[in-house]
């Protein structure tokens, strides 16, 4: 089971029995992920050729457990120094580099994965959990474990007494925790059997990257389901910087003020001889690149038949 959710293929340094461990390195300008080890079950060793149950054991995360994270460009970190530290601590390397030790959450897990292959992102995941009305005690069936990015969030939502049953059809992929969009199975094939397994009024969600899959799924769903709705969720992130805008030196024409696109220079340029001063302010704008599409989420509610 461990290989399924472990994404770095370095060897282990210490064997840690069944605890969650996640270390994130925070660089100067955001997240840089060096290592994550994420074992999801405490006692059992389920395998992915049959459905297994996954718990997220948040309560146990008061001791930092980290393996395989030895060095990055900011130096070498001694893991024995870390054990016993409270979460949120900043620890130093031999060169004065630092990392923060953070308690793992499904969101950190997803963030780590997002640097790799195609997965469900946080906006989709959050929406799915909300829309399926998953609360503690629910029993959830997940077809297509993929990277496990949804699984951890489902597990969090059903805890402490619910269950998530998850399976994947691709042997190698289940082992490598990858999942690539065009090779997804046809969701409509699983829907009639899903209808048989579900309780009345239960909600189904199908994630499909292509509209043709959605069209076909919706056709199939009409038989046993109602309230069929299809959504798309995207996330836009904003970047924040401190800066100022030039207020110009308009009438004089005596100071060269051609402003080609030299972004770095602009805030330090002096504008002499004007009565307009440019104060430094915090400015926010959307990041220029974003995920343009993850997939379509189709939800449907099983008809009440009795």
């Amino acid at each position: 089971m461990k290989p399924h959710l472990q994404i770095e293929e370095e060897e282990e340094e210490e064997a840690i029995r069944g605890r969650l461990g996640s270390v994130k390195y925070i660089g100067d300008d955001g997240w840089v992920v060096n290592f994550v080890n994420f074992t999801t079950d405490f006692n059992s060793k389920p395998t992915f050729d049959k459905p297994c149950s996954i718990y997220v054991l948040q309560q146990y995360l008061t001791v930092i457990l980290c393996i395989n994270f030895r060095a990055n460009r900011f130096g070498v970190f001694k893991h024995s120094d870390w054990i016993g530290k409270p979460f949120g601590s900043k620890v130093l390397s031999n060169k004065g580099g630092f990392v923060y030790l953070l308690a793992p959450t499904p969101e950190l897990w997803t963030l780590v994965l997002s640097h790799r292959t195609q997965i469900l992102y946080i906006a989709d995941i959050s929406f799915v959990v909300m829309y399926l009305e998953i609360v503690p005690g629910c029993v959830v069936l997940e077809s297509g474990t993929g990277s496990g990015s949804l699984t951890t969030s489902l597990a969090r939502a059903v805890a402490p007494c619910g269950h998530v049953y998850t399976f994947d059809f691709h042997e190698q992929r289940a082992a490598a925790a990858k999942f690539s969009i065009p090779d997804l199975p046809q969701p409509w094939l699983t829907m009639p059997s899903a209808a048989k397994m579900l309780k009345q009024d239960a909600v189904l969600c199908s994630f499909s990257p292509c509209i043709e899959q959605v069209q076909r799924s919706c056709e199939t769903l009409k038989k046993d389901f109602t309230d069929i709705r299809t959504f798309e969720v995207l996330l836009r992130t904003y970047e924040v910087k401190e800066g100022s805008l030039d207020c110009g030196n308009i009438n004089k024409g005596d100071s060269p003020q051609s402003l080609p696109c030299k972004r770095k220079q602009s805030s330090s340029r002096s504008s002499n001889g004007t009565n307009k001063s440019s104060a430094t302010t915090v400015m926010a704008k959307p990041c220029s690149e974003a995920k343009g599409h993850t997939g379509y989420l189709t939800f449907a509610r099983l008809k009440c038949l009795y």
Partner: protein
């Protein structure tokens, strides 16, 4: 990926699949045209069109049931609709929409005289006891243009008539999702324009999870408090805090069908009480964290020692009789009619109506399930021992940085926080201040974008009208700003 959720109701009757007397329900009338919250009782009614129908037939029905207004000897009543298997429908209609692709509306002139049935004719049919379906059939038979329309237009026509002459009522479970959607659709201002995808993202980013102690600043009517409590399912605690002396309204929590355990997990505490408790002892919560660790239990039904909110009821710190009535809200039985009377000056909390004529009832009498008790000093001390595990803020009128400055100190280290706001600039300033002070990492401002699609044969496209804005979220994780080399225990 496809996921299905089925509840097994293992948490003591929390979300049963069948309605009961006194339960809160969401009535979806004519496919979302109207949304009404109601509490089921023998006497409660709902007004549909100009007919008043008793809600009694809904008691004991599974959520998800569909009802239709029918007229009996004693007037209009709600009758359960048995779902038709789509198999038969399908064979019958085939792929008609594809067949008449070449048909279009070029020759249809809308002259308003295409219908030969007059209003009087219809009234006469009703008097003679015709059902809604019969009236619709008659309208189609008497329409001179119906046959010329594309099958798409025919469907639209039928739907329009069905809504008018045979309105349908869907019985829905009032969950955070449906409650948020209902408010966003009908009265977004009452929940601070918080869209359901944004709410769901707030809960994720704040890592709302079992047995956590979550501090919320909820100035969005209680939808946030309710959504957090729903996720906790009675484990852990929700601390609804507020500035000043008067608590924020959390009327919307009443719409949820929360059991005793969940209600007791929702507590209130003025920010001043919390802050003064923290400042009494300058020790950081992290120092107690490891000490408490050994006491933690996985089992959801057991005592959750860091909160003082007991899920099995026997170690409750405040005896139930001491609950402060003014600060505790209660769920009570009233019927749908009560809106009108409350509008006429009946005292009680602000009524929450979803429509000009629909309302969720005001409080009248109490078969009291209490939520929102004031946290006792003992509870606050237990919170303080660990620090809160997450912070969620949804306060549209408040400067986020002012709130964060007060609330971040009460969080444990490594605790995530998520702040909703309608304006970008205040969040940007807040993020910048947090960065400069090195109080948090993983800071980001995100804005979800939600789009719904119409998926129909040959007519698939995104909805033409959409909510183009659901709000911004600033999220991050609180860290120790100094090196903690010396803090090892």
């Amino acid at each position: 990926m496809s996921s299905v959720s089925a509840q097994d109701g293992s948490i003591e009757n929390q979300n049963p699949r069948i309605t009961w007397k006194d339960c809160s329900v969401l009535l979806d009338i004519n496919d979302g045209d109207r949304l009404v919250f109601a509490r089921l009782s023998d006497g409660s009614t709902v007004k549909i069109g100009n007919k008043k129908c008793s809600l009694r037939p809904l008691i004991g029905c599974p959520f998800g049931s569909l009802f239709q207004v029918e007229t009996g000897p004693k007037g209009a009543y709600l009758s359960r609709v048995v779902a038709i298997s789509e198999d038969d429908k399908h064979e019958e209609k085939g792929d008609a929409p594809l067949k008449d692709e070449a048909k279009d509306n070029r020759n249809i002139v809308d002259s308003n005289c295409a219908q030969n049935l007059s209003g009087e004719d219809i009234d006469e049919m009703k008097r003679q006891g015709a059902t809604g379906e019969q009236i619709i059939e008659a309208l189609i038979a008497n329409s001179s243009t119906f046959e010329k329309k594309t099958s798409f237009s025919q469907e639209k026509y039928k739907l329009r008539k069905q809504k008018k002459y045979a309105p349908k009522v869907l019985l829905r479970r009032p969950f955070a999702r449906s409650i948020c959607e209902a408010y966003f659709k009908k009265h977004p201002d009452r929940i601070g324009f918080l869209r359901v995808d944004v709410l769901s993202l707030l809960l994720s980013l704040a890592n709302v999870s079992t047995s956590s102690d979550i501090v919320v600043l909820d100035m969005v009517g209680g939808i946030l408090t309710g959504a957090v409590a729903e996720r906790l399912g009675g484990t852990g605690s929700v601390c609804n805090t507020y500035f000043g002396a008067t608590p924020c309204s959390m009327d919307i929590v009443r719409m949820f069908n929360f059991n005793d355990k969940i209600c007791r997990s929702i507590l209130r505490s003025p920010l001043s009480d919390i802050c003064s408790a923290w400042s009494n002892n300058s020790e950081q919560p992290k120092n107690q964290k490891n000490a408490l660790d050994s006491e933690c239990k996985l089992d959801g039904g057991k005592v959750s020692p860091h909160t003082g909110v007991d899920t099995t009821h026997d170690s409750l710190h405040v005896p139930e009789v001491e609950m402060i009535q003014e600060e505790a809200c209660s769920i009570s039985i009233v019927n749908e009619e009560s809106l009108e009377s409350s509008a006429d000056g009946v005292p009680g909390p602000v009524p929450i109506s979803m429509d000009e004529s629909d309302a969720f009832p005001t409080i009248k009498a109490c078969k009291s399930i209490k939520f929102g008790k004031k946290a006792t000093p003992e509870t606050i001390n237990l919170w303080k021992a660990n620090g809160f595990s997450s912070l969620v803020i949804a306060a549209p009128e408040l400067d986020p940085w002012s709130a964060v400055q007060e609330l971040l100190p009460v969080l444990s280290y490594s605790a995530p926080f998520a702040i909703y706001h309608q304006y970008l600039q205040p969040l940007a300033s807040c993020m910048h201040n947090l960065q400069v002070a090195k109080m948090a990492v993983g800071l980001q401002i995100t804005e979800p974008w939600l789009r719904e699609y119409q998926v129909l044969p040959s007519r698939t496209h995104p909805h033409m009208q959409m909510s183009s804005f659901g709000g911004y979220i600033l999220s991050g994780i609180k860290v120790c700003s100094g090196e903690s080399q010396n803090n090892t225990n």
